[in-house]
């Protein structure tokens, strides 16, 4: 290399060192709470938050996880969350597919009005519905049941909007060809339209899963029985029960995080797509 190129190279290296340093510092700041949680979940009880704090578990104890899972009921809470979330996600996706197809492909009177009705649901904040919904659920006898936790959320305007967008991009000729081949709407929907709209279905699924998993206020209102608690409320319960066993509380927090980490490891791309679908429309 010539002298000039060497000097330039040196400058470039320093510039990159600066960039990586900044990035690393910020990443450490962002990750620190989770990191310290993992560390503390593995510390033996006596080491928790001694001053100065320990930043690395020299003698990791996994007992806190066992404790959180069994005695702390996190295993049970996790099971409940998974069941409820899967029910809600499936429901939202199915109703969204049905409604999206109707709005995108079919023609019928009051179509525009009904679409506005669907979109209007996005404008209604959850809190306005809780008073009535609690009593509705109670009257149906669904207090402390999976049904009560899931049924109010089986349909969303956002889902219908997303699937309508996806189905609108299907070429007209596909529908015509299918009609000539003797496919009615129902078979066309499930055999052709949905497979082709797979990215949108995946995006909606991830989005719905995330939202359902993170629900807090509703489970708090309609479950009292510890056996039905979802993982978010369960974590709150765990914290108040093991107030002096921080390692157990933290183990519970990590347990609550892991399923989402797994989900996002595989489906991060779809989450992005779901988000940008909203942003593009504005």
């Amino acid at each position: 290399m010539s002298v000039d190129a060497r000097a330039l190279h040196r400058r470039k290296v320093w510039r990159n060192v600066g960039r990586y340093t900044l990035l690393t510092v910020l990443a450490v700041i962002v990750l620190f709470p989770i990191y310290i949680t993992i560390v503390n979940s593995l510390l033996p009880a006596r080491d928790i938050f001694q001053q100065p704090p320990k930043f690395f578990p020299t003698d990791p104890q996994f007992g806190s996880y066992r404790e959180a899972w069994n005695a702390g009921h996190m295993g049970n809470y996790l099971k409940n969350s998974i069941i409820v979330t899967v029910i809600i996600t499936t429901g939202q996706v199915v109703t969204a597919i049905l409604a999206g197809y109707a709005f995108a492909i079919l023609e019928f009177p009051f179509k525009r009005l009904l679409f506005v009705v669907f979109l209007a649901t996005l404008m209604v904040p959850f809190e306005v519905t809780i008073v009535t919904n609690v009593s509705t659920i109670s009257n149906l006898g669904w207090y402390d049941t999976y049904a009560g936790l899931a049924v109010p959320f089986l349909a969303t305007g956002f889902g219908a909007f997303l699937m309508r967008q996806a189905f609108l991009t299907l070429p007209r000729e596909l529908r015509d060809a299918a009609a000539l081949d003797g496919y009615g709407h129902w078979r066309f929907l499930w055999r052709v339209a949905v497979p082709l709209a797979r990215p949108a279905v995946a995006a909606l699924s991830v989005f719905a899963f995330l939202a359902a998993w993170n629900q807090y206020l509703w489970p708090l209102l309609i479950t009292k029985d510890d056996r039905l608690r979802t993982v978010q409320i369960g974590l709150k319960q765990l914290q108040s029960v093991s107030i002096d066993q921080v390692n157990v509380t933290f183990a519970g927090a990590i347990i609550a995080v892991i399923p989402l980490v797994i989900l996002l490891l595989f489906f991060q791309k779809h989450l992005v797509r779901g988000l940008t679908a909203g942003a593009v429309k504005g």
Binding site: M1, S2, D4, A5, A7, L8, R11, K12
Partner: protein, 362 residues
Amino acid sequence: MGRVALDHVSKRFDDVAAVDDLSLDVADEEFLVLLGPSGCGKSTALRMIAGLEDPTAGTITIGDRVVNDVEAKDRDISMVFQSYALYPHMTVRKNIEFPLRSRKVAVAEREQLVRDAAASLALEPLLDRKPAQLSGGQRQRVALARAIVRRPQAFLMDEPLSNLDAKLRVQTRAELVELQRRLSATVIYVTHDQVEAMTMGHRIAVLDGGVLQQVGAPQDVYARPANLFVARFIGSPPMNTVTGRIDRIDDTLVAQIPGGHIPLEAELASAVTASGVDEVVIGVRPEDLRFDTADGVPARVSVVESLGHERHVVCRLDDQQLVIVRQDAHDVPPVEQSPTFLVADPAALHVFDPASGNRIGV
């Protein structure tokens, strides 16, 4: 204005060399075309001159200073991008003005420069529109106006005509050349279109696989291609090439090709012998071939394509290889499927070494 020089410039990505040891000197006020197929490194070379990429080796000089560690904004060059890269949220006026604002030019002077640039590209009526309201050709002129408003030392253009429709492209080609002459500007122009290269450049630099194949005036590159790649890339319809065995018939060096032989005249023959090859690739441009009734290489007329002002006659040799002959419209057209003979002007023969692809002889 100024000269631009690349001295043994390379750009490697891992172990692939996008640009391999490129040395090129662009003179002041010269219109130099970087020509080559996609992936040949021409755009990478342009971006290194602009400062958008750093070379892995070599030095780049603009004017009289080495600019390797000078940032793009301080290199005193402008660039016209293939997609024009106009700022969509700014009016035409603001787009043209933008390079001046970055350099803190006084307001009054700015307005004058913008007006001048807009005038030279007939953009005055469009100054308050946004790019979304303009046609492709208009957007391209805005991109040009933005480039010229600063009077940089050199203009870099990356396939600026490729997004225009064919008719507009021809018209804009001429306008670009006029603009360059008017501004006495140094222009480095990247394209994959050899017609653009031939018609616009003072010199053409042909690249393939990151390596410079040949640099010279259009006529030189056309008449004396340095290797097979250049020979086949430049010229439309492309040069006919045929591989032949070297042999002697009656004291004359010939190349044996399917169905016949091509005699090589004295200078060419001695160059071939000197190179020691026993196989050559003979190249002949379609306009240097003519039909004969008895002499020459036997061939069969396959398809006669009439273009109005000229004719392309596609023929097949004995082994079905295609040879294209260009005929003037006034000549008598041959009959399709009829046998004929092809004769080439011996001075118009190009001979290449099949192994290296390089030109042999004069």
